[in-house]
Symmetry: C2
Subunit: 620 residues, 2 copies
Amino acid sequence: MADEFEDNAPIASKEDKDRENEINRNLIPDAGKVPLDPAQLWGKGLIADIKRTVGTHWIEEMTNFNQKTVAVSLLMFITVIAPTLTFGAVYGTSTNFQIGTVETILATAWTGTFFALTCGMPMCVLGSTGPCLIMTTVIYEITKTMDVPFLPFYAWVSIWTFAYTTITAFFDLTRFVKLATKFTDDIFALLIVSIFIFNAIGSPFGPGGLLRYLDPDNKSHLDFLKELGGEEYDYLTSAVLSILIGIATCATIFTFRGLKTSPFLCNQASRDSIHDFSVTLGVVVWTLIKHLVFPSVELEELNVPSSFEPTFTCCDSSCTTYWPDQCTDQSEPTGTRSWFANMMDLNGKSHAIFVAAGPALLSFVLFYLDNGITWHLIYSPRNGLKHGESYNWDLFLVGFCNCVNGLLGLPWLVATTVPCIVQVNNLTERDAYGNIISVQETRLCHLVSHFMVGLSLLFLNAMKLIPMPVLLGVFLFMGLASIGRIEFWQRFLLFFQQPSRYEKTAFVKYMSIGRYHLYTILQILFFAGVFIVQNTKAIAIVFPFMTLLCIPARLWFLPKIFENWELLLLDGEEEEVSEWVAAKEQHKEKNLEVDSDFKKAPSDLTMDITGHTSGFSFDL
Amino acid sequence: MADEFEDNAPIASKEDKDRENEINRNLIPDAGKVPLDPAQLWGKGLIADIKRTVGTHWIEEMTNFNQKTVAVSLLMFITVIAPTLTFGAVYGTSTNFQIGTVETILATAWTGTFFALTCGMPMCVLGSTGPCLIMTTVIYEITKTMDVPFLPFYAWVSIWTFAYTTITAFFDLTRFVKLATKFTDDIFALLIVSIFIFNAIGSPFGPGGLLRYLDPDNKSHLDFLKELGGEEYDYLTSAVLSILIGIATCATIFTFRGLKTSPFLCNQASRDSIHDFSVTLGVVVWTLIKHLVFPSVELEELNVPSSFEPTFTCCDSSCTTYWPDQCTDQSEPTGTRSWFANMMDLNGKSHAIFVAAGPALLSFVLFYLDNGITWHLIYSPRNGLKHGESYNWDLFLVGFCNCVNGLLGLPWLVATTVPCIVQVNNLTERDAYGNIISVQETRLCHLVSHFMVGLSLLFLNAMKLIPMPVLLGVFLFMGLASIGRIEFWQRFLLFFQQPSRYEKTAFVKYMSIGRYHLYTILQILFFAGVFIVQNTKAIAIVFPFMTLLCIPARLWFLPKIFENWELLLLDGEEEEVSEWVAAKEQHKEKNLEVDSDFKKAPSDLTMDITGHTSGFSFDL
């Protein structure tokens, strides 16, 4: 193995290396530095955001309707509805059904539609996320400890959070999120994508996923056993068929997408259609196969509520206890909770209004980071979006929407990373080499898909026809399709590859192998930190803060280990890297000319001059 | 669609086309002709074969032991043992157990080992095939009608067949097989490969295959039901897991093979090892997963005999009836049939010795064609084998081996197409573009794999651990890996592709689109004929004759429809095609020069000269 190891830096003395390093360091001024945008205080940033985005592109983004819009709308509907229902069920058990599936659907539908119409960055879709769920659970626990009703307290927290987001937007504090670089973005993206893949395949950290069906005590099996009686239900058949259909759905989608660059079908338009509708087709095909070929096998279904009304059914007219769990002797609920919580019903503890400011700070940081990092990831120059950023305006809007959600007892929503990546990727036109030709920036997909989530309340029973494993197959596809684009992941894979066969990226070409592997190892350590926090129930709430830690680490810790040009090559935007490479190549050429001049001179003179060159920078 | 249709021939008048055609026709003398080798009568061909092959390369082919030898031997063992056992079971039911699994294993082991050591074309492995099975069944029916014992009659047929093959080899009649061209080869290859794939996936024409497990009346389910009792066996679990494991095995093998051209693993040697052992690894991995993860699910096993003795167990010492089927009251068999049949025990009908010459003619033609076409396919110049052909000597040997088999009551063996293709492909080293670098021509793989088949009689119970679906996955892989290399299949796929995106092969470049599609359609018709005959029980025996029909069709019928140069482009060997293309391009260049000269002349003169050119050939 050792003999195959090709170090790309020439074998050289320490002096030579120092000299080379010195040259590299001075090729571009400010290499590897992360600039902070100038502040736009007193609402200037907010107004600039609105002008730049909604004010300029709204009509274009609302009218660019075409086949892609339809295809991506359907795709986004599938992407959004399944986690919405799943999160809805978990909210139910976490908050004693004060918030449930109906509330989650309603929140997703109205917030998504409203946000799509008014926001500045319509490519970022909102949805339920793990951190919000955990935060809500924490608030529920606080209300139990404080002995105040949950919904009014939750409403007050929402109001406080809205206040914080307003202040933040007003003083342009969102610009600090832009200090995050590819280093942080990639850690966050890989984390979210890995959660997606783990949730689809099944992981040691959570209950869901295809492989989890092999566990006879899986919830879906227990539910069917209860429903059908032990004799008629064989969990193993259900498990194996679930795995088969999940993998097949994923493979079918990849196959349909692969047609795009193949010579098959009669023209490019038909190939593009199959590509665009691949997820919808995959879902339809395997849903049909399930029902036609395996009608007798029970597979897990989407957990769909039976009617459209608040989930919380009351034991009595005071509506503080939950039917039937807390009044098993009663055959009928007295009613459901009202949509608007009575804000002043704080069990006589009015100070709770001010206590709520504390947890609100936590949930504000959550909104700030979860949204911020996702927005940063999606609107990175790599993705080729042209319509401009709008962090202040959009954060303000998220605060507003979640304030309304809080008042109605609906769950909070923030930007959901993977659906955002999926939407951008599917609206992007690429050439055969993977370079971006154009991105169709539109509000329509976001709007239509979330409107359809609302409509789904009307055809809840039809939704039940889609087996859960088919949706897990879709998530698996989304995870696998997204992970390949993350540079951190590509660099991680280099550990398993033969160095001489590494793809010849800029850092492979100019840095020594140990240096970029060291960088990857540091990134893995940070990733592991975030991953462990995210998967440890007790401390999961601080996961966004762990991600936040990556920003100062990149700003102050990494420059202590790496040269500025190394950071530029590993962490810079494409343009910066190209600029540096150009400067480097230019320098090399000049040097070669100088070298060949030297060769004509006697060798001792060359030695002398070479000695001189180390220690100061070339100004070529 | 029509506007996307690109015709490669320039739009031209009929006269222009005729002229172009005339030019093409005369570029190469004897284009599209199929030459017949001169006869080497009176054993000269036989001796030439031995000198050319065994006499020259035997030591090299017996000593080129390396990692590839081990890998391909294991692969060939897996490839050969499974059909051997499957055919064994069918032979049992077809001949009332006069020939069974033990006989099939024994015949494969000794014939393969002996043939590997003595034959001239060791890259062609022997095995049980469908036509031989059908032929044996026919002979069994004849003996029932004639009321003579099966085994002695079968022995006489074998002796007659040996006589015919000896005469054929002595008079070099095998040279007629070489009249088959790619046209016939491809039809035959696609037929055999499609049978392989159908047998793996499950087809409407046969009982086997992964999808067939979904039928609750599948034999494997009925067997398990009988064995385990209805309560404990759920056929659907078994069916779905079978499909999952079959597809997973196939996918795993393809993934392991794909590593070869990837940058993964530390060096090329380790990538090559994984590639070479991919099938063995796939089988091991999924056999382990089956037993570790799904210990409780019953999957179909290889049908392995319990002890090494003739399958036919006798009711009494005369041994004419089969225990226990024909004497159900007896608790123990009296013994088994003796290995050597008493040749004169013909139930007093001595004329049967001469009657046997009739069916022997049929089985001779079967040997002649089944071997001949497979040999022709494998030793085609495309495959890059250098050690020379040996049709006469090898046919003589096959006759001899099958004569011995006939005397011992063992099944006949002939060259088995797909294992041969698999062996050659796996011993071939290709560059990144799929061009052959070298082929390791060896006797060792053939020898070791068939010797291992013999050894398997010692570890019959271990063989049972490999689930049948894993082997079906291997067959699926073999079929899919082979089908892509068949030009007929590639041309068939063009029907589903956009003409402007067709791969730019010689015929696409120079022929008009309708012409080569017509050729493909004719090939499909012949394929359909052979396919239907092959899959219609009553007439399946004439399937090799149907294949034979393709040869005269190519010699006399196709030239009536196609120009000689068209046949050359579609049906010629690579070298001929290159030669023609070179001549064509040279002609075009010269013409271009002439054209540019013409352009200087007045236009009416050009017209006149152009008119003259049609009707006679250019001698450029």
